[in-house]
Symmetry: C2
Subunit: 427 residues, 2 copies
């Protein structure tokens, strides 16, 4: 017989208890901060109909990255690669009943078939935060404010760089260059790659797309002029919305963390207004941490009235990289408050009674699953990272005492059995 | 264009915020109680290799219920239908490093292709609790004790009926009837169905399997005699283990909730020792709520030394039925502590500042996303189930005051803006 591998499926992670405590802590902070901002949590099934993604998720995702198959009942189903289509389905499904504006969040696991590499896995978790309805600049500002406060809630003083653009402004700009939608889309791809490939390759790419020297110099100017110059040249709804947003971000004390950046395009097809990406300024972690934007047309797929929304998704792998870069990860090695030793069958009941009292005080307690002497019990407790050990034998028990060992301080005292909880709580 | 359906995939649930608050509360209690008992949380990816289930999960599950497909890299993968194979893979993967005994839990979502009906869905969540290693009767007793305390932690005084059997005893018994493994397996299926189909059909089934009148009367006797008679007839390891377990359950004060029941067989192939099912005694909810047992041979699949384990899985749908039957579900309609109104653009910053103070005090706060008068703000707050509304206009703000409305009591007071947190916390 050949043995089965203990490796997890390619591009996925196992969460052993240490890693799981980290994940719980990270998701707990996300949840706590989102609830404080009045966001409500939702979730949907991990399988969705294939067609939910076919319409809006973009060709690369559907053709190359989507996990999909036909079920035993001949339904074409997909494992969710992103959460926004599920959000849109839920909102459309109870469109009339749901109080608006809607502030929702979720922390789903998502799947994409990709070549695993640093920061990119086939399964990852992603905090999704969306505001549907409300005045646009208020909702946009609050979404960015929440993103900022969320990162802050993890501690430290990391300086964030929040880069903001507007799809409507880009449409105006491409229009001024005489580009139709198809060519504009191709130029967008070049802009997306601009920072990675450098100016020479960027110019060559634009030439290859048939752009002349005038247009290329207009593009260069657009990317170098700054918001004030662009505002006067491209007056209209888009720059108005951005001006209002920047004013509000200033009110929130975020002026130094936010800036206009016309190179921010975002890959997903459904963005129509504000788009943004949030960068860490630490020299070892200069990738975009996460991003999002405003979408106007998602509910139309379900035949519902439109409700403009804004949102972002923040992946757990990227956030973990950020937290480790800034040394913001606490120590998760302690798994247990107290280990209670069992000397023999006759005193098992007493050990259980002490454990019950400790649990009622809110402590996490492991009772030994073997009868063993003090030395063996302490060894077990150390392996599990327990903070305290409670030990006793016939001698201690007869006089109503137990041995309490503080493993962190390596101190041992004899205390009244009735007093263990109090003594532990004061150490 | 035809619209996309807003229905979730067949046999699955959407979790809108109300349902999600319920789920969070339920999982939170599970987690809290498991941690108090010294269990540590783990998780694995939702996709696993097909072969992980092919070996041990039972024919019906693999052939009829498993979701599986071939990925873009020609790997045969499955969506996990149960968690125990993942647990075994993780334990085998770090067999030497992990401190033993192992007390682990997980709350995964699991998938089975079944005809959706009450209590059975294609996607459900399941608390999985396992103890690997340790003295058998101590580990078995603690597992049952934990199950009992977990149900108790949800409140109420529901009386549980914990029915216990031992696979080893059943092997002895089938041996005494002269049944080989294959026929014993067929008789097992009849025993599994015994309570549902009644004695006549049960006897007919046994006859159809070729059992004679003597054997059938031996089977009837076995099921009616009680543990004391069986203990003397089938002396050996199995009844010894059961006696020790019953003694320990008595020490834990669970004597009245536990009994020997030879009809408990459990479907999964991998159980080898103690097996149990836990029933609610409420007349409207008399199905097995959940069950589990002891398994000895799971790690052998991975070429590792054996480590005997015991565990159970408790599904969220069954637990929800139990909680609703006993009216143990709290009210989850309030989504928000405070709604803060925004009178106009000039005072948006002030509304944000008040909100920040409220959040820092740990409250969940929604700031209005529209500028609107008092009436419209109160309406919004009521729709969201907020407990309080904070309102102000130029007049109040000039004198450092705000209007605080307690929506539950329908009381309205004017308070100092600096005092809002304190006033809310004392109501």
């Amino acid at each position: 017989m050949s043995f089965i591998s203990t490796q997890s499926y390619k591009g996925t992670r196992d969460f052993y208890p240490d890693e799981m405590r980290f994940r719980r802590w990270m998701f707990g902070k996300m949840r706590e901060t989102a609830l404080k901002f009045g966001f409500q949590e939702y979730d949907g099934p991990i399988l969705e109909s294939f067609e939910l993604y076919a319409a809006k998720s973009g060709e690369e995702l559907v053709n190359e990255q989507l996990y999909h198959f036909v079920d035993r009942g001949d339904r074409k189903v997909a494992i969710r690669p992103e959460m926004t289509p599920t959000l849109a389905r839920l909102v459309a499904g109870k469109f009339n009943e749901l109080p608006k504006p809607i502030r929702w969040f979720s922390i789903p696991n998502l799947w994409r078939y990709e070549k695993p590499q640093k920061g990119r896995l086939r399964e990852h978790w992603q905090l999704n935060v969306d505001v549907l309805g409300g005045e646009r600049s208020m909702a946009d500002a609050e979404t960015l404010y929440f993103a900022h406060e969320l990162i802050r809630s993890f501690g430290g003083n990391a300086h964030l760089d929040m880069r903001i653009n507007h799809r409507g402004l880009m449409d105006q700009f491409f229009g001024s260059l005489g580009l139709d939608a198809e060519r504009a889309h191709k130029v967008t791809k070049a802009i997306d790659a601009k920072d990675k490939i450098g100016p020479e390759k960027f110019h060559q790419w634009l030439k290859d797309l048939g752009l002349g020297a005038t247009e290329i110099s207009q593009i260069d100017a657009f990317f170098n002029e700054g918001f004030e110059a662009i505002r006067s040249k491209f007056a209209g709804v888009a720059v108005d919305e951005m001006s209002q947003l920047f004013d509000r971000l200033q009110d929130l004390g975020l002026k130094d963390s936010c800036r206009f950046d016309p190179s921010i395009m975002r890959g997903l097809n459904y963005y129509t207004g504000t788009v943004f990406e949030i960068y860490d300024t630490h020299p070892e972690n200069r990738r975009a941490m996460f991003g999002g934007g405003r979408y106007d047309n998602l509910l139309g797929l379900f035949g519902k009235n439109q409700l403009s929304g804004v949102g972002f998704g923040m992946g757990d792998v990227t956030l973990e990289d950020f937290l480790r870069t800034h040394a913001l990860v606490p120590d998760f090695s302690s798994a247990l408050d107290v280990w209670v030793g069992v000397p023999d069958r006759a005193h098992w009941k007493s050990a259980q009674e002490i454990s019950r009292t400790l649990r009622e005080a809110g402590l996490s307690v492991g009772v030994s699953l073997d009868e063993a002497g003090f030395g063996a019990q302490i060894k077990q407790a150390l392996k599990l990272g327990a903070r305290f050990v409670v030990l006793f034998g016939e001698e201690e028990w007869k006089s109503g005492k137990v041995v309490l060992k503080n493993l962190g301080k390596n101190e041992q005292t004899i205390v009244d059995a009735a007093d263990v909880v109090r003594v532990i709580q004061t150490q």
